[in-house]
Symmetry: C2
Subunit: 206 residues, 2 copies
């Protein structure tokens, strides 16, 4: 049906947009898999190398940066986190949709290296709803919530940098919407130019 | 969910690809409607002005060309055929998906005037299948079939000019694929930049 290659799907959006829930539903679908990050953070109990993260030493990680083996990386609280290129490429070659849940900065980094990546901005239906969800979590101080809302406004201001905007009004609907995007992307002409050779048997003289 | 605007959907592809069947199934779906062409051809019995065609005199049609009131037009066997811009625009403003079934030349004409149009190339799964379908019709001479196959090869050679390629292996699947494309297109960020204003109530100071 298509060129047999998967899609690199980047899902981004404000805290409270519901990325975690949507991603966890998506990764249960056949053909979808989650990207595994490399990190210099120490493994927590029960965390398995190659399952939850690829655990690396600082030297190993910096060698990966040097060798351009990361699609993107960032430094959080003194630890590196990044997306190994090889892992993503292998899955895409195997017709998998690889999901990457990262922030806009990282997303744009990936897009510059990997222009075929599909950037989705997942957004709550309104700022009021976002506020409600953040307050509902009851895990954050009012100051932290205000910061998150400010950050959300900045992110929404940058939606033109994304390919698609999915409004997470209902998780089920958002998941279906993303599946439609992936299916549509697989039918993009630019991803299927090999069809010329498949459809036309040039060796035959018609 | 979206900006409330519809999509101009151009469906093109070789004779025998099944455009007619796919389009007739699509236009039964809610939110879809078929574009009505203007023509200088005389109405046949039972053909109603404004339903099957907009029937025009040669002078009226040429005035439409002059006034740039056509998205595309062509001259077939001494009669003009064209797509009235106003009609398409009105339906799109009303959130309709307007289907235009035209040839590549016309499709590219429309895309140049109306870059938001979505160009779909509907193709049979193989040239052998296409030949089978054309022979199966039993309405055409072997010479005519050969000509159509040659034309199909030319068209397939130009698939990079399209946005999407839909393989019509099963009509039901092709219709669903096109519905996914339309849904995905409606979520394109560039079609939804107005969401900034909707999501962020700028008047509120956060």
């Amino acid at each position: 049906m298509t060129n047999g290659k998967g899609i690199l799907l980047i899902i981004s959006g404000p805290s409270g947009a519901g990325k975690g829930t949507v991603v966890s539903k998506l990764k249960e679908k056949s053909g979808y898999s989650l990207s595994i990050s490399a990190t210099t953070r120490k493994p927590r109990q029960n965390e398995i190398d190659g399952v939850h993260y690829f655990f690396k030493s600082k030297e190993e990680f910096e060698k990966m940066i040097e060798d351009k083996k990361l699609l993107e990386y960032a430094d959080f609280c003194g630890n590196y986190y990044g997306t190994p290129t090889d892992f993503v490429n292998k899955r895409i070659e195997n017709n998998k949709t690889v999901i990457l849940e990262i922030e806009i900065q990282g997303a744009l980094q990936v897009k510059s290296i990997y222009p075929e990546a599909v950037l989705i901005f997942l957004t709550p239906p309104s700022m009021d709803e976002l506020e409600k969800r953040l307050v509902g979590r009851a895990t954050e101080t009012p100051e932290k919530i205000e910061l998150r809302l400010k950050r959300a406004v900045e992110e929404i201001d940058n939606i033109d940098k994304y390919d698609y905007i999915v409004i997470n009004d209902s998780v089920e609907r958002a998941v279906v919407d993303i599946e439609h995007i992936v299916n549509a992307e697989k039918m993009k002409a630019k991803r299927n130019l090999n069809l010329k050779e498949i459809l036309i048997d040039y060796s035959k003289s018609i």
